[in-house]
Amino acid sequence: MAIEDKVKEIIVEQLGVNADQVKPEASFIEDLGADSLDTVELVMAFEEEFGAEIPDEDAEKLTTVGAVIEYLKGKGLSA
């Protein structure tokens, strides 16, 4: 599965949103209804799925779906 699809799947599951809402420009908090604890849970879910550690200073920049995908790709990770 491509990184994009896996990321989407995790977001859909974690936030209980529809897959078609999960666009690259979508902000977790503004568009997908996440609260701050949701964003922490999301980051932990990404860490678990991709076997990577995401430091807090990186995590706070991952505010949109696209940012997460770019970040994980930049780390050379794959699903």
């Binding site: 609260d35 604890l37 849970e41 932990m44």
Partner: protein
């Protein structure tokens, strides 16, 4: 039929005293129980009692103040029993002494078991509980955490800290349907209190309107209430069980 049928509870400090009574009480209401203490062999009697109630008991050894050990213990429980619905942070120790004679070791030991242990276990179960959108955590605090006590500055601080941990976690996890409450026992007859001097005990008894010391079962009943749906609308609370010794 019990009020905890199908639930899995994890009880720390379950080898004896209040922890053992809690494990037995929750098992009697239908919960499978993961028993935790410093050494696995200490848990044989409690495990037998739980099995006698027809429930599954598993034993896990852990130093509750060690993060890796706690995570491994929780992982084992989830692996063997499938989930954790109820966590009871009961493990506690005393290292009494007057402030001016209190060693750094005695301070650290008590804070590590009584406060850090609860933090580590709560952190370890919080994520699975958040995911399953349900869970109950009960912390065993103490009347001493509310009013302080000469000769117990370390213990009092650890229990007051545990109450603040309870309230903060309750606020953080409420949105995920995870409730966090505390029980504050008064003077309960256990091995921990048996060692106190007779004149101290006499003075304590005089301060208890109900004129008796509490039993481990008195505490276990309060834990059962907070662990069950009977207390579904309670979170961040401290339930005092003390024969009227302190009213607040």
């Amino acid at each position: 039929m019990g009020i905890l049928d199908g639930k899995v509870a994890l009880v720390t400090g379950a080898a004896r005293g209040i922890g053992r009574a809690i494990a037995e009480r929750l098992a009697a209401e239908g919960a499978d129980i993961a028993l935790c203490d410093l050494k696995e062999e200490w848990l044989a009697d409690t495990a037998e009692a739980v099995a006698g109630a027809g429930r599954r008991a598993i034993r896990v050894a852990a130093d509750v103040g060690n993060a890796a050990g706690v995570q491994a213990a929780v992982d084992k429980v989830v692996q063997e029993l499938g989930r954790v619905d109820i966590l009871v942070n009961n493990a506690g120790i005393t290292r009494d002494g007057f402030l001016v004679r209190m060693s750094e070791e005695d301070w650290d030991a008590v804070l590590s078991v009584n406060l850090k242990g609860a933090f580590l276990f709560t952190r370890a179960v919080a994520r699975p509980m958040m995911k399953q959108r349900s869970g109950v955590i009960v912390n065993i605090a103490s009347i001493i955490g509310l009013i302080g006590n000469a000769g117990q500055c370390n213990y009092a601080a650890s229990k007051a800290g545990l109450i603040a941990l309870t309230k903060s976690c309750a606020k953080e996890l409420a949105g995920r349907n995870v409730r966090v409450n505390a029980v504050a026992p008064g003077f309960i007859q256990t091995k921990m209190t048996d060692v106190l001097a007779e004149d101290v005990k006499k003075k304590m008894l005089d301060a208890i309107p109900m004129n008796r010391f509490g039993t481990s079962e008195d505490i276990a009943n309060a834990v059962l209430f907070l662990a069950s749906e009977q207390s579904a609308y309670m979170t961040g609370q401290v339930l005092s069980v003390n024969g009227g010794m302190v009213m607040m």
